[in-house]
Amino acid sequence: MTDAPSYLETPSSPKLKGIWAWLLTTDHKRIGLMYLMAILFWFGIAVGLGLLIRVELMTVGETIMSAETYNAVFTLHGVIMIFLFIIPGIPAILGNFLLPIQIGADDVFFPRLNLFSWYIYIIGGIFAVISLFTGGAPNTGWTFYVPFSVQTESGVTFTVLAAFILGMSSMLTGLNFITTIHRLRTRLMGWLQMPLFSWSIYATSWVQLLATPILSITLLLIVIERIFGVGLFDPNKGGDPILYQHLFWMYSHPAVYIMILPAMGIISEIMPVFSRKAIFGYKGIVASSLAIAIAGSLVWAHHMFTSGMSDTAVFVFSLLTFAVAIPSAIKVFSWVSTLYKGSIVMSPPLFFALCFIYLFSVGGLTGLLLGAAGTNIHVHDTHFVVAHFHFVMFGGTAFAFFGGLHFWWPKLFGQMYNFKKAYISAILLTVGFVLHYIPMLILGLQGMPRRYYNYLPQFETGNFFAGIGAFLMVAGMAFMFINLLQGLLKGERAPADPWGGTTLEWTIPSPPPLHNFSEPPRVKSYPYDFSDVKKKKSAHGQV
């Protein structure tokens, strides 16, 4: 193995110097890091906005902001979290960095398009900022329902254009990854030799490609309505506002699968490594990933049970929603079965993965309550919904993202972090999470509406404790990032394979050189073959 300098020290072209070696890079690894920085920046802002929401809700009546400000804060929190953090998150950061390596390729198929996608992401973020100055922050909620989104004087136009631009970044990334997987898999890397994280990126990419344009046209229509008053959703001009909701959710429901599929892919990588055992049901997980992508596109109107659409539609979409739960359950079952009779080694990535399995399952089960049309009427637009989607998007996707960061941090940077601090941060985060969102489930069942600035006095206790939980969560996350950063600055050097993995990224140096593979990658006939992984004394990075 040659001692080539790492990608952190090597520009993708020798002509690039200084900051331009990053801003003009076509190296998928550097682009992944640039996404990491931009996305974590927006994540921090959105967390701050979330904290403001929960502080405001800690007491009845006005606590720290006016009602108008509150509307803007929860709108921005949602828009930023969804379009600037969760949807790009795992694919743009970990997908970019790891997909080519996992399939034995040197880069993605369209490296310059990859860089272009990053710039589009940045421009989308800038448009979101501009919206604050063109009429003030949007106050419609991230769903931009008509008629309010057409009539309100707040900066909806620019926010919606920001989402449109971010959608293009998402689409082009999906396009790039699909082409990469079809054309650049190394010799002997057949479809059934591909790791499950790569499979999850593949399924996600198709959803990104085909569903995002529906959002694009929907957002364009809002802008057109605001400027030209065409009336396509205006009942006064013959329009149907429920059609807006249909179009909006035709994207936004598949979008949640864009969020969760890569997260599930991460869990599918972590579980076998720390069970020292092949994943249970590799083909089942592949099939369920594709099934989720497809079936998830057929259930969008379960967000609309109380909108006024026909009873037939309510019935059909409720039925299909229950069907979609099945492939997800198959995965949970497979992950747990992987642990069974495995040689389990605790590590921060595994800890996050186990929390994921619990929190995601709770989120999924609360989803059944929402998917059943009758019970939906009771909990629609209450805090029950808010808790549900935070369980799956935060307890699910974000926890998997954190687990993935802890799993692949040594590979990205060649540095380890402190395990004890990682566990403490994870525990703090999880305890805070549970204290924060379980009261919301109860409050929702008791009838507290979402997006309301004020509430009935009997809801105050629950909200107060939820607020405490919020602070614990944020403290946990802050501690987690500080620990990872400290690992970068003063941590131990990481070996190529600190965990005992079987996928290709663990066969190259940590951090990798510019050109991923100095010799042709040796592909196993089964990606989770642990037969020649020697048992290490401990998983604590001390090899």
Partner: protein
Amino acid sequence: MEDNGVEHILSYPKLVAVLCVLFGLTAVTIVVSRIELGILNIWIAILIASIKGSFVLLFFMHLKYESRLLKMTFVGTVVCLAILIGFIFWDISFR
């Protein structure tokens, strides 16, 4: 991984033939639209448009000579759109 050898070139006569078919079908669809067929009119119009579209796809866009992957993903996309349009009628038709 498929690697096309020498790719098929469409000759001018063949291209002209396709264009004539397209012109012909355009004439047909205009004529048929003037005949009162009630609800059938729109479906026939869509059918003829689909046939015209197929000629553009298969020959001008070369899809007939492309890989199975391209053919399947194209059909998949159209099916996806058809489902979106179709499923809306669970709502629209039963209000």
